[in-house]
Each structure stands twice: as structure tokens, then as C-alpha cells.
Symmetry: D2
Subunit: 320 residues, 4 copies
């Protein structure tokens, strides 16, 4: 199979690219996600596909891979629910609708899975047998690749790793439970931790407060990263706390899946070693049997936001 | 492939059987595990294999599968460490040693994996695509089968599910961590919980104390099961606590792997519905997104202790 | 002793009143707290005292009682530290400075103690032997009265009840510890809980979000009280959580001190029974030995903000 | 008042002494506690009183103080309940029954209060204004002395300090709650911790196992103390854990009561500095406002088991 098109269908924008077998992006485009109705979104997808097929760098296209936010069924054809794309969707036959419009084979994947696959195949995981990709953004998304296969689960909803219970009876989570892992490490958790330090120890958090315009509520993620890079103690403590929790959950995943590598992506990972160093330390300490087994690597992702498009494009090559 | 032999090599006994493609055991035998030296164990394995090959029900044998307690490498040939079989083993080439003695192809698997595979292929999981088998005995062992494949991990040590952290800073675990899941649900946890009730509320735990000979230290697992079956409130509470924790950890596993079925085996599961009912209730409540997704089944294992032999025999059919 | 003057010296305002032996306020006044230097504050106190002495309702004044935010020494004469009144104070002889200016005997008390005493002597605790007063405002302040005596502690800093550890390793507190009780029940905790529900379950918290102008950050304490009064489920849950934690800490205090009555005051208590009902339920459940002992009452305070002036005035009658 | 008699009425023995105003024991005696009926116990008390009055060292006796295990009412005359002395007692008029038999004024106190008072008045607390006495034995008992007065509570049941909740949802307690402080530091907690280490880390706990006869269940408190004194790492860790929890609860008590001194007595305290050093460290770290306030002392009790008799005798001097 030659060129395929990957489309990353998110709640705010649709990004797409024509990609060759080696993961090279030959052409790319993007548009705002239309609000509201199914047809709008399928029309928009058809539009970006047509635009890419018309591009001078792009020869014949063989298939289209869609990475869509939401629960996708295991046949990779229907969207079970997707609060971010269309609240009305229930078992929406997205694959067939798009396929009818673009006249090409289509597969639908969960967007986090697609991005994980892109990062595994062409980014920090290329050439390997297995990896767990953790995207630490607003929450924690992820993808599991074992024996070079993406783990989708019985109903297609595996890898909801952000909802591992980290603390019994802990912080509320939007999923209805308490204590979910992403309540302790994520962009939101980082801001929360920083604001909490600023509220209760304003003296020590002076730099953070300055950056936030004088009030805890003004402190944002990039402020914490900036201050931590400058060496600010309070900001570094925030990343230490984040890394501790990240390593904690990774130790749970390693007990279950024994991966060879963790790849960390997402906004919070932009802090690089400020996050990765305490993460590695906690993972090492908390991994069961850590004295008697090899230890998985922990690296930063390489592809950034583009992983979703490349991954979706590549997954379209496996049409089974 | 016709008949294969499965050998379950545990710390106290070696059980073996000749098994056909449909999981029927044509002949079986067992002996005590010799203590001490490698050769003893390989000799013992060779002995049971020879005995079975000589049995009148057994025609030509094609391969041997060993299920061994310990960390097994991913090539299914070497025992990394095995505190229960031979403390001196480090990277022991068990496959080749046994193969040289029995003149047959051999594969080595972790014993919990072998038992899980047996239960999946021929027991409560037969005909399915995926299942998580949880053996709640002294600790919690388990095996993960996804897309009809056993998940072994990058270094062969996946499915150490008993060491998922359930409680941050919780009870000590022999693995060196604190708060491991098997400290909250297992045969040991059950006894501990029962003795704790008996210590602090002797009035309410009168029946348990009677069965235990009058002192908390005398209460054993079967006493709790017996009293619970009689309807004793304190004993039922013990199973409610066990079930709650079992369902709690299953919700973590389901968030990660989205299996279609959980199969519960091991000594604690002999209590049947006394354990399964509270387990299901907790799992239902704690599963992330439980309102918007199908729910995995929870059933008892069907094969009992024999699953290890049958599973090891069957895994010998996949020699890759 | 006839008429005494009570002065409540807070971080933002100074309130004062001339009070008779029965707790009747004959005249009252208030002014803004001057920022900065000691003399300003003693001048301001002298000014309100002079103003009251000149009032037509006020005959001869016998003594002055000051309730001051901060750590007060056990001789009731010096302010050890007071971050809210004057950061420079260390062992400040406030009693003698004021006494020199007003030519009257003076005593200094911690302001929470003074308010607790006022409420005990003339409010919800009048005629009783003992009571614990808990002021649930920004944090939790309190006063302990046993055998009709105010408990001050060896160094004068007893009744810092807001800093009982409720949760090991829990939420950060401005005092430098983690998990302090006032991080779980207080005006701040109430707002935090409400915003957290609104962040993770916006659908259920629609009414709270409306009141807060559409964003979680806009939700304030009175919004929660208002919505709870209307019967809103999310707001009621916030008060249920507050009440649960309030009762939890009261059970600790009752295990230690066995009071006959808890009097609840402060901004959060304005919700009345919305708070008190779940508080009583939790207290009842969590009180050690609750089946074998009488149970302390839980009532709302009666005097409101005026308790501090009345209490300080009355404490000036005990000059030892 | 000259000589008084103190009687410590425990579940297994009755100890008594004739004591002068300075706490000197002029004569003493003891007998086994009769099982079963009220009269037996009052007869036994009358008997030891008579025996002491007949002793050559003892001149006229002015009053009798009884320290009795159980809930004692605040008038110091009735036993509300006493599971250890007589399960049938409900509101038993012990003071009047004994007084009628011995023809002397009698007061009844809770035995922990009596011992705390003895230690305060004549032991480690002599000459001071206030102290909290903590008896770390099977559980944690205690007595609170503020301004040289014993705190009894509204219904006489104050100072049940062992039932402060240390861990929300923690270990079961005989009082019906979970997470009570005495489940984390006490003789029982010490044994439990030691056995737990021995179960999960037998290699590191070799010395403890040796002392316990080879099995965790054999390890007793004195074994842990002995091994810790020898410098054994596992045993020292047990005391570090105990000290950490002891200091933790003391920080709660200090936040509420601000005592000048903690006096530690009971079996666990026989380990001396092995316990006290980590206790002090934890207390220092966890005391709210620890940078801005004086810190209470932490010392060992001086009187040992005799404190109960001396304390009860002295409390008989206050007959109000």
C-alpha cells in the first residue's frame, strides 16, 4: 500500500496529512471542527481528504485512517459515544459514512490510540516490539502496543489509563469515580498543585504568583514550566509531585504489562527532564520486583502533535 | 500436533498429564518436588514425562510444556529467578536441559500463565477472544489473554497483577512495596481480616472463634468460608470486604485492558457467590465510564487445580 | 464589676462595645484597622475606648478586654506573633501599652477565644458547664470551655483545632503541614468542593455554574448556600461533604474532651440545618463508644459576629 | 488531710496503698480481682482497706480513692459501664457501696485518670502546671491535666485519646470505628508490625523470628524491644514506625490543648529512647506552627505501675 491519509478529528480542529509508508508527511492541511451535526463533520473530513488528494505531492491514495475522540467500537467502524465531537452520536457508523463520500476504504480509531501508534511506529518507539505511550495533557490518554499490536480491548475501549484508581476515595473525577490517576498528574493537576502552593505558601511561591499576575487563579501551566526552568523551588516541587505520581502509575502499568519502554508526550511533558527525572526515580522505587528484573526505559515523545495524523494514516494500512 | 505433555512444576509438587488437542487428560501423575539442586528437578521432570509416555492411553507425544513458578524469559526457555524452585537459579536454561533429557521439544511458561491459558482455552473462557484470569490464593496471580494471545510482556514478566498498588502507603508486601493489591484480597488477607474482627469484636465473631479453637490465631480460611455459608454475619463481612477489593482491582484492569470476561479461580474463590456477588457490585460501581460501556462478565473458573497441566500442555503446541 | 469594654481587633476592622454584666451592649463603635505600626493600633484602640466612655449610655468603665488575632501569651498581656495585625510584633506588650493610654486595667485574649467565651456565656452556651465553639469561616477557629473555664494551654496557644490532622499526607495547609482539618471543612473547602464538582460534572452542577457566571472559578460560598436552599443536588452534596468532615473532627474532639455541647458559628454555619444535619449524623456514627455514652448536642451559635466584643468585655472581669 | 488509701481496681488484680500527702507509700497490699458479682468486688476493696488500716505504719486514714477501669460518671460516684470489672454494672453506685462498708469518704475515678494524676503530681510531672500522660500499653490510655486540674469531661469520659481517628477508613478498632490511633501505636500494634515484617521479609527479620521460635506468630513485644536494643534493623524499624505514629497523635493533642509536657508510660515505653527519639522527631515535624511556638517536652514516666495507687489516694483528698 502506498500513500494513505490520516485525519485527526478533535473537538476543536481537524488536522490531516497524506503519509507514505515510512511515515513521511507529503502534504497536510487543517480546519476548524464544525459544531453540531454529523454531516458537517463527515463533510469536513471529506473536504480535507479531497484537498490532500488534489495536492501536487500526492499520488494515488489507498485508504483513509480517522483518529476520533471518543469510544470507538472494536471493528473500527462506529463511534459508540463522543461527547467532544457530537453529543448525539450513539453507535454512529462513521467509517461507512466517510467511505461513501470519499470512495476509499476507511478505518476509525480512537485518537489517543492513533497518536500512540504514530509515536510507536515512527517516533520514539520505532523499531521496537512494544511500548506504552502516555499523553499527559488535560488528562492522561494513552496507547498500549504489545508485540507490535495495538491493544484495543474487547469492546474497543482499552487504554483508559487516566482512570486507574490512584487514591481510594481521592479527588473527584469527571468519570464519576474518585481518585483517578489523571487527577494527580495532568495539566489540570499541575495547575491545581501550583495554585495550592501559592494559596497556602505565598512567600515561597512568589515567582509563580508574579507570573500569574499576583493571584493563585492566574497561574497557568507554562508559568510553572518557566519558573521551574529558572530554578524556582516551588515550581520544581510541583514537577517533583507530578513526576512522583507519573512514576507511581507507570509502576502499576508495568506490573500488569511489563513493557520495554514508556514514551511520554503531551503538554506537561514539554518540561522535559524536570518531569522525567522524578518520574524515573519514582518508577524505579515503586516497580514491583525492581531488584530482580530489567527496567523499562522512559523517554520523551518525538513527534509532537503530528503523531495523531501519522498514526491514523498508518493504521489505515491494516484493513483486515 | 497430537498429544502433548503438560508439567506443572510448583514449590511442593510436580503434577503432569498427557493431554490431547481438545484438552482431554489421557493420563496423569504427580510427585513431590525435590529440594535443592537443578538436576534433581530436571530429573524429576524427565521421570514424570517418561512415566506418561509409557502409559497405555498415551500414543506418540509431540512436545512438553512446563509451567514453572518464577520469572520466565520471553523466549520461553530460561528461568530468570525462581525463589520457590531453586534459589540458586539465575537465567537457568531449563528448556534445553529438559529437552536434552526427554528428547522432545520443550517450552517453559510461568505457571500462573499456563493455568490461565488452560482455563481460557478449555475452561470458563473456551471459545472466547479474551479474558483475564485471576487466581486468588495465597496472593493474587493471573494471566492476561487478549485476541486469543497470552500477554507475556517485554521481558516475560507481565501479569504480576497482585502487585498493583491499591493503597498508597498501605500494608507491607513481600515484594518490598506497600499497599499491593494482594495484601487486601487473597487467602492471607482473608485470614487477617477474619482474625482482626475476632480480636476487636469477639462477641460478633463468636462463630469464627469457635471454629478457630477459641483464639483469633486459630481461624483459618476454610473456617471463614464455612461460617459464611452458615450465614454468620462476621464471616459474610469478611467476604464483602474481599469482594469489594477484588472488584476494585478489576476496575483498574478493565480501565487498562477492557477484557470481555474475568475468570476467578484459587482457594478464596471456592466460596463462590459469597465472593462473586460483592465483587460484581464493586466492579460495576468502580468501572470508569460504567454508564456508557458494556460490562465484562465475572465468572468462576471451571478447571480447578488441573488448569496448569492442561494449559502447559496446550502452550507446547505453539513452538514458534 | 460594672461596665467593661470589649474590643475585637481584627485584620480589617476594630469593633468595640461597652457591655454590662449580663452581656448587654450599651454602646458600640467600629473603625478600620490602621495598617503598619504598633502605635497606630494602640492609638486606635484608645480612641474607640474613649469614644465609648464618652457615650451617654455608659457610666464608669472598670476594665478593657481585647480580643486580638494572633498567638497571645498565657499571662494575657503579650502578643507573641500576629501576622494579621502587625508582622513586626514579637512578644509585643499590648496589654501594658493600651493600659497606659486608657488608664484602665486591660487583658488581651486570642480573638477566637474571646468570641467563643461570648457565645458560651451569653449565647447558645449560657448557663452551661462546658462547650466547644467551632467557628467555620475561612478556616476553623475555636474555643474550649471546660468547667466554665476557658482552656488557654501552657503557652496560651490551645484550641488551634483547625490544624488537627484529618488526612495523613492530605491537602497542603498554610501552616506547613498536610491534611489539616480546615482543609476539608471551611469556607475555602466549601468553595473548592463546589468548584471541583462543577469542573468534573458540569451537567449536574448547572445551577452552581449559572450562579458563578458560567465558570467554576466564579462560584462563591453564598452561591452554594443559595443553591442548596433551593434543593439543588450538587450544592446539597457539597454540604453533605462539609458536614461529614465537620462531624468527623468533632468526634475526635469529643474523644479527647467529652464536651456537653458543640456550638457551630461562622460563615459556613449560615446554611443552618443543611450543614448541621449531616454533621450530627457523622458525629453520631464516628463518636467512639457511641452506643454506651450520652451524646453531645450540636447547635448553631446565636450571637453572630458580635460574640467577640461581648466575650472580650466579659473576660476583662477576670483580672486575676 | 493526712493519710489516704488508694485502690487500683483492675480486671485481674486489686492493688492498694496507704499514702501520705507527699505521695509516700506507707504500706501496700494486693489481691486477685474476684470475678462475677458486685459484692465480691466491694468486699475485696473493703478487705484491702481494712488490711492497710491495721498496718503498723498507718495512722488514721481520712479517705479512700478508687481507680476503676470503666466509664465513671462526673460526680465520681458511679460506674456507668465496666466491661472489665463487671459486665452487669449499669450506673453502679460504687462510691456509696464501698463507703458504707469502710465508713470513710470515698471517691471513684477512672483508673487511667488516677494513674495520670499520680504521675503528674508525684512523678515526671511534679511541680508543673499541666501535662498529658499517655499510657501506651495494650491500647493507649491517658489523662489530661490542665491548670493543675484533671479534665474529666461533661459526662466523665474525657481522655479516650486512643480513639482519636488517625487514618480515615483505617484498621478496625474494638470500639466499632476504623482507624483509631491505638491501632497504630500500642503493644498490639507493635506486635502486629513486627509480625508483618517477619511475614513479608523473613530474611531481614531473622533475629525477630529466632526470638519468636521461628514463626511470625511467636514474636512478642519483649522480643522486639530486646532485638532493637541489640541494634537489629527490623526491630528498630518497628519502633520508628511506633514513634512516628505516637508523635503524630501528640501533634493533634498539642494543637487542641497546648500542654507543656507529654509523659509517656506503659509497656511500650519500656524501650525508652528507642521509642522516644522517633516520637520527638515526628512531633516536632508535625506540630502546627512549629516554627513559631515553644515545643512541649516529651519524657518517660517515673512511677511505673504504682502511679495508679498513688494517684487514686491523692484524688481522695479532693472530696468536693
Amino acid at each position: 500500500m502506498g500513500i494513505t491519509i490520516g485525519v485527526d478529528v478533535g473537538g476543536t480542529k481537524i488536522a490531516a496529512g497524506a503519509v507514505d509508508e515510512d511515515g513521511n508527511v507529503l502534504a497536510s492541511t487543517r480546519m476548524m471542527t464544525p459544531a453540531g451535526f454529523t454531516d458537517d463533520i463527515t463533510d469536513a473530513i471529506a473536504e480535507v481528504v479531497a484537498e490532500l488528494r488534489a495536492h501536487k505531492n500526492v499520488a494515488a491514495v489507498d485508504a483513509v485512517g480517522l483518529g476520533a475522540a471518543g469510544f470507538i467500537d472494536r471493528t473500527r467502524s462506529r463511534v459508540l459515544v463522543s461527547p467532544n465531537l457530537n453529543k448525539a452520536w450513539r453507535n454512529e457508523p462513521l467509517r461507512d459514512r466517510v467511505s461513501a463520500k470519499v470512495n476509499l476504504p476507511v478505518v476509525v480509531e480512537n485518537d489517543a490510540n492513533a497518536a500512540a501508534w504514530g509515536e510507536f511506529k515512527f517516533g520514539a518507539g520505532r523499531g521496537l516490539e512494544d511500548a506504552i505511550v502516555l499523553t499527559v495533557g488535560t488528562g492522561i490518554g494513552g496507547g498500549l502496543i504489545l508485540d507490535r499490536r495495538l491493544i484495543r480491548g474487547h469492546w474497543g475501549v482499552a487504554a483508559e489509563v487516566g482512570h486507574i484508581t490512584a487514591v481510594v476515595g481521592g479527588r473527584r473525577c469527571g468519570c464519576g469515580n474518585r481518585g483517578c490517576w489523571e487527577q494527580y498528574v495532568s495539566g489540570r493537576a499541575l495547575i491545581r498543585e501550583a495554585r495550592e502552593i501559592a494559596s497556602v505558601e505565598p512567600g515561597r511561591a512568589r515567582r509563580l504568583l508574579d507570573l500569574g499576575g499576583g493571584v493563585p487563579e492566574g497561574i497557568l501551566g507554562p508559568h510553572v514550566t518557566l519558573a521551574a526552568r529558572e530554578g524556582d523551588g516551588a515550581a520544581r516541587e510541583v514537577f517533583d509531585v507530578m513526576g512522583r505520581w507519573l512514576g507511581f502509575g507507570m509502576a502499576i502499568l508495568a506490573a500488569v504489562l511489563d513493557p520495554g519502554l514508556f514514551i511520554i508526550s503531551g503538554g506537561v511533558s514539554e518540561a522535559g527532564d524536570l518531569l522525567i527525572a522524578p518520574t524515573r526515580a519514582a518508577f524505579r522505587e515503586l516497580l514491583t520486583g525492581h531488584d530482580a528484573r530489567p527496567e523499562a526505559g522512559v523517554v520523551l515523545a518525538e513527534l509532537g502533535n503530528g503523531a495523531g495524523v501519522v498514526g491514523a494514516a498508518d493504521l489505515a494500512r491494516y484493513l483486515d
